[in-house]
């Protein structure tokens, strides 16, 4: 490959990498903001409901995840992460990794093709009549989840981009040393 083409490709790759990095930073800031909001809303819920009504006593140590993270291969060999809610799940998902909804990880399980029972909203662990701040907390954490999956995909792309960049730079060096 001629050197100018290589350089052009290098430039475009670098630009793409920088764009991805910027997006990653923006998403990271947004995730931090969502998580902070979520925790503050939880504190507000504790203020309204009583400090022990929103805490580890309200959930079991074994829980069903509401959201699963699935990976898929895109056409250029990159992995992408998708959030899947089991109600929309298709049976051929392979290798799901569980993402516990804002709690510690649940047990790893092999995927079961049978239909899931109606999943209970984790909000109802705290009762039916929950204050608005608890619903806000749930909304914040849900948004944060989506951001987290996007960030994971972006990070994989960035890593791939960096390795491509390195490869191209080496090729360029070789070409230059050959032509010199």
């Amino acid at each position: 490959m001629a050197a100018p083409d290589l350089r052009a490709e290098l430039d475009s790759l670098l630009l793409q990498l920088l764009q991805d990095l910027e997006e990653l930073e923006a998403k990271r800031a947004a995730l931090n903001a969502r998580v902070e909001e979520g925790w503050l809303s939880l504190s507000q819920a504790r203020y309204a409901m009583g400090a022990k009504s929103v805490g580890p006593l309200q959930y079991a140590s074994r829980m069903e995840p509401q959201v699963r993270v699935c990976t898929s291969e895109a056409q250029d060999g990159l992995q992408a992460f998708w959030l899947v809610r089991p109600s929309a799940q298709t049976p051929e998902e392979v290798g799901p990794r569980e993402a516990a909804l804002r709690r510690r990880k649940g047990l790893t399980r092999t995927p079961e093709p049978e239909s899931f029972p109606a999943l209970r909203d984790p909000l109802n662990w705290f009762g039916i009549l929950v204050p608005h701040s608890l619903r806000q907390a749930q909304a914040s954490f849900r948004e944060g989840l989506q951001l987290a999956a996007d960030m994971a995909s972006l990070q994989i792309r960035i890593d791939w981009g960096r390795s491509q960049l390195r490869g191209l730079q080496e090729k360029l060096k070789q070409l230059e040393s050959e032509s010199a």
Partner: protein, 401 residues
């Protein structure tokens, strides 16, 4: 004792009223809160609390300090003070104080904590999620614990032991020898057979004073979150109405001080239940059954609230009552506004402070407990803001004095 009750009040209750007023003087002031708000870490907070009436209550805690530990210790301190007063109380103050603790146990989620401090040596049994039948058993068993601590304490010990044993699938032959001989009762064998709280009620609770509160709640339904919520609120409604009746029976200055406070509590429950029930599966009829009837909203306001479909309609109902109209006006859900619950807490603090303006009545004890609860909420809120390093809303506490 119907004429000049002030002349006789101090015979039985003078020491305790003096004590509660002294304790009230130790409630954190605005200056204390300003100090607390400037703390950078929870260790700083602990240091500042040492210079208040709380003293070294966190001295024996392992570092790092967590908000949950601070909350526990704050509550324990209040419970110790309360316990002291309860132990020195004569009737009718003793019954009055019992009513307050019953509310403490039922109204908050502090069941295990208070259970273990009010009843030393008690360990909460299996705490599954609310859908687990064991949850209601624990709820019931702790309420049992409070009501009959002295006289039936051994019996309660045994009941709790048998219940937890049954939940963990132990045989009755294994459990009965571990029961305290002083607390045996005829239905002890029946506890093991009781698989659900309904059977537990029919076998055992029906003979206890708590039965009156449970009559409408427990039936042979499954315990899912909806029914547990209904049970919880129905219990609280029954408790509030009987407390109100008790205060009106006491009469005099106590009734004058307590009835407005309890009426506000009832109305506030009605508003909060209505607003929180929007978007849930709670039907309007079920919702209406949860409203306590001892407030100013009864009967027309409650009927309208039962029909309300959104926040605007609730606000319209509140507009018929001047003080509630004021509370709703100050509240909003924009980021800078106070929430409605904050406004309700503020109003509650105002009413409770008024109780101290009168002498020779029991309202001061209730007001003291509620103000200490609010103080605890304030300190925990400040601690959470410090721990999460989110100081924007740290001033959302409600100053008391």
């Amino acid at each position: 004792m119907s004429f000049f009750p002030e002349l006789y009040f101090n015979v039985d209750n003078g020491y305790l009223e003096g004590l509660v007023r002294g304790l009230k003087a130790g409630v954190l002031s605005q200056a204390d809160y300003l100090n607390l708000v400037q703390c950078e870490t929870l260790e700083d907070l602990k240091l500042h609390l040492q210079s208040t009436d709380y003293g070294n209550f966190l001295a024996n805690e392992a570092s790092p300090l967590t908000v949950s530990v601070i909350d526990d210790r704050l509550k324990e301190k209040m419970v110790v003070e309360f316990r002291h007063m309860r132990n020195h109380a004569y009737e009718p103050l003793a019954s009055f104080l019992d009513f307050i603790t019953l509310g403490l146990l039922k109204g908050s989620g502090d069941l295990p904590r208070l259970g273990s401090s009010l009843f030393p040596g008690y360990r909460p049994p299996f705490w599954g999620p609310p859908c687990c039948p064991g949850w209601a058993c624990n709820y019931i068993s702790l309420a049992l614990v409070k009501v009959q601590t002295t006289y039936y304490s051994y019996m309660i010990d045994n009941v709790i032991l048998l219940i937890t044993g049954t939940l963990h699938q132990r045989s009755i032959a294994e459990l009965v020898p571990k029961c305290h001989p002083l607390g045996s009762f005829e239905q002890m064998e029946a506890v093991n057979i009781a698989q659900t709280p309904a059977e537990l009620y029919n076998a055992i609770l029906v003979d206890t004073p708590l039965a009156a509160f449970f009559q409408d709640c427990i039936s042979e339904q499954d315990l899912d979150e909806m029914n547990i919520e209904i049970i919880r609120n129905t219990l609280y409604k029954a408790y509030l109405e009987s407390f109100y009746k008790f205060c009106t029976l006491l009469g005099g200055t106590t009734a004058d001080a307590m009835c407005p406070i309890l009426e506000f509590e009832a109305d506030r429950r009605a508003f909060i239940i209505t607003i929180n029930s929007f978007g849930t599966e709670l039907s309007k009829e079920d919702r209406a059954k949860l409203f306590p009837h001892c407030g100013r909203l009864y009967p027309e306001g409650l009927a309208q609230l039962a029909r309300a479909d959104d926040y605007e309609q609730v606000k319209n109902v509140a507009d018929y009552y001047p003080e509630y109209k004021l509370l709703f006006e100050g509240a909003g859900s924009n980021p800078g506004d106070k929430t409605l619950e904050d406004r309700f807490f503020e109003h509650e603090v105002k009413l409770n402070k008024l109780a101290f303006l009168n002498q020779f009545h029991f309202g001061v004890f209730y007001a003291f407990v509620k103000l200490k609860e609010q103080e605890c909420r304030n300190i925990v809120w400040i601690a959470e803001c410090i721990a999460q390093r989110h100081r924007a809303k740290i001033d959302n506490y409600i100053p008391i004095f």
